[in-house]
């Protein structure tokens, strides 16, 4: 016999609020609970479905977005923690797929199924923003939080190097 959930769970404490977010250069106000993870606000309230749900516990990186330029796991980032920081999702990386990383991804044919790639790209974008010429070790360290079940790792590395070359 199993009884769920832990007794500490108190849904009654939740309350809706009007929350204003800056996402991909646009300001939007949504009605949501402050503890709702950014991931679900993006996907289900703002219809920005490029950011993916993979694990919900910041283990796989599929939900990675930039928050104030830093890569964060949107599945565990509460809306209350976003405040007025700029959010950039895959839809905001470029309007037309011309970001150096997107072009490198295309040139190296990185994606297989493609599900994790938005998260991979956003993590790589944060890496290149602070390290213009990453080594393999730098890349491995920065990308270690992003799982790719298809195993595109070798092409991910190549594409990040390629984008770094182009951006120089």
């Amino acid at each position: 016999m199993v009884v769920r959930p832990p007794p500490s769970f108190q849904p009654e404490s939740a309350a809706m609020a009007r929350i204003t977010l800056r996402v991909n250069g646009r300001t939007q106000t949504i009605e949501a609970e402050p503890q709702m993870p950014l991931l679900w606000a993006l996907r289900d309230l703002m219809n920005l479905t490029g950011t993916k749900y993979g694990c919900g516990i910041a283990q796989c990186g599929a939900c990675t977005v930039l928050l104030g330029g830093k890569p964060v796991r949107s599945c565990t980032t509460a809306l209350s923690a976003v405040r007025d920081a700029e959010v950039v999702t895959i839809e905001g990386l470029s309007s037309d797929g011309t970001h150096a990383l997107q072009q490198a991804w295309i040139a190296e044919e990185v994606p297989q199924c493609g599900y994790c790639q938005a998260g991979q790209l956003m993590t790589a974008a944060a890496l290149l923003a602070q390290n213009q010429k990453p080594t393999d070790a730098d890349i491995d360290r920065a990308m270690a939080g992003n799982i790719c079940r298809c195993g595109t790792y070798d092409r991910l590395r190549k594409a990040i190097h390629r984008a770094a070359e182009v951006a120089k």
């Binding site: 016999m1 959930p5 769970f9 993870p37 479905t49 797929g97 044919e109 195993g151 070798d154």
Partner: protein, 706 residues
């Protein structure tokens, strides 16, 4: 990717290849609502539409889960058609019971088994009819005409017409009974590295996976299932769940309890707030009990014979040297990046489903059965799939969505939590395997026996194919060979896991072959080559991998190499892994792979599939293990069911044979050799045999005979 609904309502020709190799071409007129009317009820497995504006539509009737068929299958059609590739667009086919033949995408079967010849015939037939239309128009002999980039050309008179200009006339012509297919030297697209047609959508976040579907009025849902296999809901209290903001409803459905909400997160929160008392049922085993039950079955003496060449037991008895070993394999979860999900809209008279499915035809019948809507009124759209691995050929998540939509009377998007996904899989079977082999005085194998205990994936009695595949089908010329299988009835759900039988049987066989080579004092590659005299393709990839891996040259200090091979689904693969072991850490530095997958449609896709398969095999070797406690899965997410990460990824060096043979499997055959190549390398390095996966550091310190 656009859908067929935006096609212009103009006449066009459509070529469809009938099951059994016959072909039929007919004129098709779209219905006013944009759907196509079929002129005859035959069983095609591909079709083409050519519009007067020269655009060419190719329907994709297989699921793309990252293996590239959205590009490679249309390439096959377009090559024979001599189509202008830039004008080809690909439309994912909705499920249909017969129109496309078999739509299930499993077993590395999209190209090699299902589509290669029929798709070529479809393209070639359309091309022949366009030529015939031009010949009539110009009153010349068809043999004077050639085709290039969607044009029929009459060089003698310097005239040409586009396919679009000829489409209507071609549609009125009788279909030729037989059309010649191109010689390999005539391929223009097949064998080239065309840009994949969906890469840009994938890097822009535009590719629509299952849970990216948005249907007007749609609610979001998740389902909680019995944590114990075979258990059921006893009673539940949903009062806390209903107080979660955004939760609309809670429904008990036959598969569990559905929480329906305004967004996915509210549904997940509501599911956490459910207080459920489960009837756990009879299954309460732990992993140790399961292993013990396997051992009892292995000892029981009753086994079904899968292969019996000569007298293996007798030969081993008389051998100069006998080697025996026991291998254990764990349950594995598929853990596709995209958790199970499905969007369903059940109405009184129709049902529409959007699913990341490998098996749309079964989805159609599943949805019809549950909704009560006749199958012909059930529309199934196949979305992008975030990995498949065999998991998405199953119907359980489809059932959840259709039950839930039916229960609430609204379109519902069901998404499983990762935890539900991990704990309600159809796992790769755990197995228990006993080998014995004999060697003569010259170190040659005299006989080999193996008894495999496993829960079967298939039903029925006797030998379960997936239990023995990869071993009973081994390409080695073993002089005396006995393969036995014993069925376990442990009720942990099991299913096809990328490369299925060979994914585990290659590990145990190739490791034991390595044990025999060592006992014989032979080089592992030479020992294998000696048993492959009638297997030129395996010999060739083995020789190539020896050369490219530097097998016969010294290994860098602190490292060692190991080898493994397989023939799986028409793919012939040899791999050498180069490993080290320091500070309790196994490190795979490099994997060299030589593969002969027959005719390559797109070498870039093949290389990607092979390197991805190696990563998948490594993840299983180093991390993969599902354990059972009190009848339920212990692991729940990527924190305790670990994937391979970039920092662990080796250099992967793939060498493809330029082969004129029929296309072989690509998505699976390179997975099986990775784990045994690593384990064999670790033996060469440490003297410790790995006879149980996953590889754990303590295996190298524990007292273990080698």
């Amino acid at each position: 990717m656009s859908t067929h609904h935006d096609l212009d309502r103009r006449d066009f020709i459509k070529v469809r290849a009938a099951a059994g190799g016959g072909l039929l071409l007919a004129a098709y007129v779209p219905f006013k609502n944009g759907a196509f009317e079929s002129a005859a009820p035959f069983q095609p497995n591909a079709f083409i539409a050519i519009d007067p504006d020269d655009s060419i539509t190719i329907w994709l009737a297989r699921s793309d889960m990252g293996q590239g068929v959205r590009t490679s299958l249309p390439m096959v059609v377009a090559d024979e058609l001599d189509a202008e590739w830039s004008r080809v667009r690909v439309v994912q086919a909705d499920a249909h019971p017969t129109k496309y033949g078999r739509m299930m995408t499993v077993g590395s079967n999209s190209v090699r088994g299902g589509s290669w010849t029929p798709l070529r015939q479809a393209g070639a037939t359309a091309r022949a009819m366009l030529i015939a239309a031009a010949a009539t128009r110009w009153n010349v002999n068809a043999s004077e005409l050639r085709t290039q980039n969607s044009r029929v050309i009459h060089s003698a008179s310097n005239r040409s017409l586009s396919y679009g200009e000829l489409a209507e006339a071609a549609a009125a012509l009788p279909m030729p009974a037989q059309v010649p297919l191109k010689q390999r030297s005539q391929f223009r697209l097949i064998g080239t590295r065309l840009p994949l047609i969906d890469t840009k959508d994938k890097v822009m976040g535009k590719a629509k996976f299952g849970a990216d579907m948005r249907v007007p009025g749609m609610l979001f849902a998740t389902v909680v299932h019995s944590p114990v296999f075979g258990g059921s809901v006893g009673s539940f209290d949903d009062s806390a769940a209903r107080r979660v903001p955004g939760v609309r409803d809670v429904k008990q459905i036959p598969t569990g309890i559905a929480v329906i909400a305004e967004n996915t997160w509210a549904a997940f929160q509501g599911a956490k707030a459910l207080r459920i008392t489960w009837n756990n049922g009879a299954f309460a085993m732990n992993s140790a009990d399961i292993t013990a039950s396997f051992v009892r079955l292995a000892d029981s003496g009753t086994a079904a014979v899968a292969r019996n060449d000569g007298d293996a037991r007798g030969a081993i008895q008389q051998s100069a040297k006998r080697v025996s070993a026991t291998y254990e394999m764990p349950y594995l979860a598929h853990a596709t990046m995209e958790p199970m999900n499905c969007t369903a809209d059940v109405r009184a008279d129709r049902c529409e489903v959007w699913a990341p499915t490998q098996n749309p035809q079964s989805v159609q019948s599943t949805a019809a059965r549950i909704s009560g809507v006749p199958a012909e009124n059930v529309t199934v759209h196949v979305t992008y799939l975030g990995c498949g691995w065999g998991r998405k050929s199953r119907q359980d998540f489809i059932e959840d969505a259709v039950h839930t939509s039916k229960a609430v009377g609204a379109p519902v998007q069901l998404v499983w939590t990762r935890e539900e996904d991990m704990q309600h899989d159809f796992y790769r079977p755990a197995t228990y395997n006993r080998f014995e082999g004999g060697l003569d005085a010259n170190g040659r194998l005299t006989g080999l026996t193996v008894r495999i205990v496993a829960p079967p994936i298939g039903g029925g009695d006797g030998v379960d194919g997936s239990t023995v595949s990869g071993i009973s089908s081994a390409r080695y010329a073993f002089p005396n060979f006995l393969v036995e299988a014993v069925r376990s009835n442990v009720p942990v759900p099991v299913g096809q896991w990328r490369s299925v039988g060979p994914s585990q049987n290659t590990f145990i066989l190739e490791c034991f072959i390595d044990e025999l080579a060592h006992a014989a004092g032979k080089d592992p590659i030479a020992f294998r080559q000696a048993m492959l005299s009638d297997q030129p393709r395996l010999r060739r990839v083995l020789e190539l991998v020896a050369e490219k891996s530097g097998w016969r040259s010294p290994v860098p200090d602190g490292r060692a190499r190991g080898v493994a091979i397989v023939e799986d689904r028409g793919g012939f693969v040899a791999q050498v892994a180069e490993v080290s072991f320091n500070n309790s850490q196994v490190r795979v530095h490099r994997v060299t792979c030589a593969a002969d997958c027959g005719q390559l449609i797109h070498p870039g896709i093949v290389e990607a599939q092979i390197s991805g398969s190696i990563i998948a095999g490594m993840a299983a070797a180093l991390h993969g293990e599902i354990t059972i406690t009190n009848g339920r899965v212990v692991q729940s997410n990527f924190n305790d069911y670990k994937m391979l990460r970039m920092s662990e990824a080796p250099i992967i060096d793939v060498h493809l044979i330029d082969s004129a043979q029929e296309p072989g499997g690509v998505g699976e055959p390179a997975l099986p050799p990775a784990a045994p190549a690593i384990a064999n390398a670790l033996f060469a390095l440490t003297g410790k045999r790995i006879r149980k996966l996953p590889i754990k550091p303590e295996m190298f310190t524990a007292d273990q005979s080698s």
